[in-house]
């Protein structure tokens, strides 16, 4: 039995720690993959300390966790005190029910309900930014409160009722009685509550996801957008560090408790010795020996060391004070302008792996050339629809956004974009060629400056797929490769593949055409491995899947990271999707002029090349695609893929891009998509 239980416990622990072991091992990977190990290195740890996005988010998480857990602890302890003394049973019970709601409710509902409240009230007050640090703070205090109350309340119940009364009888004021008598008695509960609140807040993703604004992104929310894209071992490195810190803290606390126990055992022993000594003395006395003998002198009582919890609290308090000072200096110390940039993940050169950190460059440019202190607050989103959700509710205010073409058309038609003042963007005239002006989404060149463009092609693993089967869209419907094919996980792109295959218009408003697309997708469905967006990288690089339609630029990234036994190849089918992503300024931007300067800066040669090389998408900037160094850096093959020589962009764009469709059509295809996804 004993053996079995040991074995069983070991097995469960193995199960719980295997994934953690995986991420620790891969944090030392020499390559960028999180699934194939290519060698040992510390480079992701170096990368981590250079990554201002992750470190910023970590700082935000700590600020939020410290402040929300402290507020919740104060409020919650007071509440527990009040509830404990409440005489009215009904009030007490209904208050307990209300207290329990955030704990019992699924997090997603707590998050959504708070989001509704903030957006509604913010709208009524006419606030520009409805979700920000304060809304997150409120949300976190709200879900932390029950944990504090439920930890403190039992301590009040366990406490000897006569203690506070005695204190009052002896002349304490109620305040004194609380702080001198009751608080020490409930302290362990308060501290457990505080620690729990702190951890819950630090680790919370769901509620933060729904209540976070742009100017305050916490680590879990950042990680979520990262795991949608290509996860880099940097985040594993961070997790490993956190793991080690926590492990050390827990071990210390355990040692502390053990030493406490040892002290107690020692004391018990001493007590026993004393008793024995007294007994001996009495015996001797009885035997008539008269000389006074002192009982064996006791070891001087050692002062108890402050407990682990007290130390922890001290550390947390110190940190919080340090952070608040830091924040206060950041807020009021200097007049710093903040430029909020909202972009796709991994869509700007960020200084990793020796690249140019363009945002930092811009900050330097502002300080040196314009004499202004500017901080670029760079936040990422994962889809055009995400962006739209944030913009249309007015939940947050951005200065620069980089949506795709059809979303620009939609935002423009709903008057959610500012007209650009091109006198602040002189680079536009010199470096954006005629081909990229006056495109359908912005016919009068009022709202946008193109950032990247590209085409969808088909990526396949040549070790699995027969060369003869390639060349057109049929590959994605080929039964030979059943369960090895990946399809887009969004209706527009998925229907698009079917329409291009069938030679139909991708921008049709005719529902019967959409039905034909649906039929085609239904045929393909049994052959699919998964619907993916950014997971495509991992699945193609590791050879997990063999065929996927995706963007040419992303293919180049995948080839760099492919596993040894994978040989990724790429081709454009005859008809395929073209897109342009462009920089815009949304309505309500707080620093419009600065945003225009930023856009202009992004067009300058060095910066634009750094971005193009980092993102790997084709650039509409003539300073980039005509640059010899750029061509050299990319390599001939990659350059040919991104800028096919016999290809007329302007002619094919208008036919093959996705346009913004009317509401009825959108609703129709969304419904069909839901039908396709849920059918089994």
């Amino acid at each position: 039995m004993k053996k079995f239980s040991t074995f069983y416990i070991a097995l469960i622990l193995l199960f719980l720690f295997a994934p953690i072991a995986v991420l620790i091992v891969f944090s030392f990977n020499a390559g960028a993959s999180t699934s194939t190990m290519t060698g040992f290195s510390f480079k992701w740890y170096l990368e981590l300390f250079r990554n201002s996005e992750i470190l910023g988010a970590l700082k935000n998480s700590l600020i939020l966790a410290v402040s929300s857990s402290l507020i919740a602890t104060v409020l919650g302890t007071a509440a527990a005190f009040g509830i404990h003394h409440m005489r009215n049973k009904h009030l007490r019970r209904s208050l307990m029910t209300a207290t329990n709601i955030p704990m019992m409710n699924p997090e997603i509902i707590t998050g959504i309900s708070l989001m509704f409240l903030f957006v509604f009230v913010g709208g009524m007050l006419g606030l520009k930014t409805k979700l920000n640090f304060w809304t997150m703070l409120i949300a976190h205090v709200t879900f932390n409160l029950p944990y504090v109350i439920l930890n403190v309340l039992p301590k009040f119940k366990q406490m000897d009722k006569s203690l506070p009364e005695a204190a009052l009888d002896l002349g304490c004021t109620p305040m004194q009685s609380f702080f001198k008598v009751q608080l020490p008695a409930i302290l362990p509960g308060v501290l457990t509550g505080l620690t729990m609140a702190f951890t819950m807040s630090l680790d919370d993703f769901v509620i933060s996801y729904f209540t976070s604004g742009i100017d305050f992104q916490t680590l879990p929310v950042l990680i979520y957008s990262m795991t949608k894209k290509n996860v880099k071992p940097t985040i594993y490195a961070l997790s490993t560090i956190i793991f080690v810190i926590i492990l050390v803290m827990l071990l210390l606390s355990n040692l502390e408790k053990n030493s406490d126990e040892r002290i107690r055992a020692k004391k018990a022993k001493e007590e026993k010795k004393r008793q024995e000594a007294i007994l001996r003395a009495q015996k001797r006395r009885r035997q008539g020996k008269l000389q006074e003998e002192q009982p064996v002198s006791l070891l001087a009582r050692k002062r108890r060391k402050p407990s682990f919890y007290l130390k922890l609290v001290a550390v947390i308090c110190a940190c919080s004070i340090a952070i608040s000072v830091f924040v206060a200096i950041g807020l009021y110390g200097e007049k710093t302008l903040t430029l909020n940039v909202y972009n796709w993940g991994e869509y700007i050169s960020d200084g990793s792996e020796g690249t140019l950190d363009t945002n930092q460059e811009f900050e330097r440019y502002c300080e040196e050339v314009l004499g202004k202190k500017v901080r670029v607050n760079y936040v990422t989103y994962t889809s055009n629809e995400d962006l739209y959700a944030k913009l249309s509710t007015g939940a947050v205010s951005y200065d620069v956004v980089i949506p795709s073409d059809y979303m620009i058309a939609r935002l423009a038609s709903e008057e959610l974009l500012e007209e650009l003042d091109f006198s602040n963007i002189p680079n536009y005239e010199t470096c954006i060629p005629e081909d990229f002006r006056g495109l359908y989404y912005d016919p009068d060149n009022k709202y946008s400056v193109p950032y990247t463009y590209g085409m969808v092609g088909i990526i396949y693993n040549a070790n699995v797929v027969d060369e003869a089967d390639t060349g057109n869209w049929d590959l994605m419907w080929n039964e030979k490769y059943s369960k090895q094919i990946l399809q887009f996980n969004n209706p527009r792109d998925a229907f698009g593949t079917a329409f291009y295959k069938l030679g139909l218009d991708v921008n049709t408003t005719d529902t019967s055409v959409w039905d034909r697309g649906l039929e085609e997708l239904k045929k393909q469905r049994p052959l699919l491995k998964k619907l993916v967006m950014d997971e495509v990288y991992n699945m193609m690089e590791s050879g997990e899947a063999a065929i996927a339609a995706y963007y040419a630029g992303d293919y180049l990234t995948m080839v760099d990271n492919q596993a040894e036994n994978v040989d990724l190849q790429f081709y454009y089918p005859e008809r395929t999707n073209l897109f342009v992503d462009a920089m815009c300024i949304p309505k309500g931007a707080q620093n419009k002029e600065l945003a225009e300067i930023y856009i202009n800066f992004m067009l300058s040669e060095e910066v634009a090349i750094a971005n193009a090389e980092y993102i790997c998408y084709a650039s509409p900037n003539s300073l980039v695609f005509n640059s010899e160094t750029y061509k050299e850096d990319m390599g001939e093959e990659a350059y040919e893929i991104l800028y096919p020589s016999e290809f007329d962009f302007a002619a094919s764009y208008d036919q093959n891009c996705y346009k913004d469709l009317d509401k009825a059509t959108k609703e129709y295809y969304n419904k069909k998509w839901e039908e396709l996804r849920t059918a089994s």
């Binding site: 416990i9 509440a79 709200t142 827990l250 998964k530």
Partner: protein, 283 residues
């Protein structure tokens, strides 16, 4: 006695009377009011007019199927957590105090890590070209296809939420009077009978609290099913999140409202069988 009580009553200070007031205000503003907004959005259309269509939409086959799938997966995951977690809670409670503390710390350690990353690491472990399968491949065993199946989602849930099952059960087990077990054994119960008639009933409150703490997050998860599930593995949390990103707030609200009502009713029934101080998660 009555006199004493009266004295006590008159002694209730202002502090005792109003200490809970901030919490009452907070609860009304940030717990009750938001739920009213959920109800408001659930019963209105985009222009603010009253409608029932968001709610009736839920009772169409599409959504019902998704809802029952969520229920099914969450129940299976909870059951597995209980079957795995109950024995381990018992075993740990029978260890020496020092070992107990060390083991509980080990169990809690993963909970301190970000669950998004842990789930992602599971994906890396179980995918067709993942570590488990390449290990098996060394012995010439065909890769086991797990990622993208319901099994994968259940594994993810069990992995993420198992500690939430073990801790409350363990915390009840440590308070269990072991003399009762010995007495039952002396009186002729066999091992199984002791478990069924003595240990289990005494640990029921821990079990209920554990079940709640696993079931609720499992039903409403969207990250686990997104990462580990397959094409047709939509869960109710996914749909809520999708409707939210598609800016369809009214449908988001109605789905949330219905999910919440069903869970609250369920939990209220379960809680009748346990004492009111559930939630003792910390040992």
């Amino acid at each position: 006695m009555t006199k004493a009580k009266q004295v006590k009553k008159s002694n209730r200070s202002l502090l005792q009377r109003y200490a809970a007031a901030p919490h009452v205000v907070w609860s009304v503003l940030f717990v009750i009011a938001p739920l009213i907004f959920v109800a408001y959005y659930a019963f209105t259309d985009g222009d603010g007019g009253f409608t029932l269509s968001n709610v009736t939409e839920f009772f169409t086959p599409t959504y019902l199927k998704i809802f029952f799938r969520s229920l099914k997966l969450a129940f299976i995951a909870t059951l597995i957590c209980l079957l795995l977690g109950y024995p381990i809670a018992y075993f740990i409670s029978r260890c020496k105090p020092k070992t107990q503390r060390a083991l509980i710390l080990l169990l809690m350690l993963p909970m301190w890590m970000n669950f998004l990353i842990r789930t992602y690491a599971i994906m890396v472990l179980i995918q067709d070209t993942g570590i488990i399968n390449s290990f098996l491949g060394n012995f010439g065993i065909e890769p086991i296809h797990i990622l993208g199946t319901e099994t994968a989602v259940i594994i993810g849930m069990v992995y993420d939420y198992l500690p939430y099952m073990i801790l409350p059960i363990y915390s009840v087990m440590t308070k269990l009077d072991y003399r009762l077990v010995e007495a039952a054994a002396d009186l002729g119960c066999n091992g199984f009978q002791v478990l069924r008639k003595v240990i289990f009933p005494l640990s029921l409150s821990g079990v209920i609290s554990g079940v709640t703490m696993v079931l609720v997050p499992s039903i409403s998860t969207f990250y686990i099913s997104q990462k580990l599930g397959g094409i047709d593995m939509l869960m109710i949390g996914d749909v809520i999140e999708q409707q939210y990103t598609a800016s369809n707030y009214n449908m988001t609200a109605s789905l949330s409202l219905i999910l919440m009502l069903i869970l609250l009713v369920g939990l209220a029934i379960v809680n009748r069988y346990s004492d009111s101080d559930g939630g003792g998660m910390m040992p």
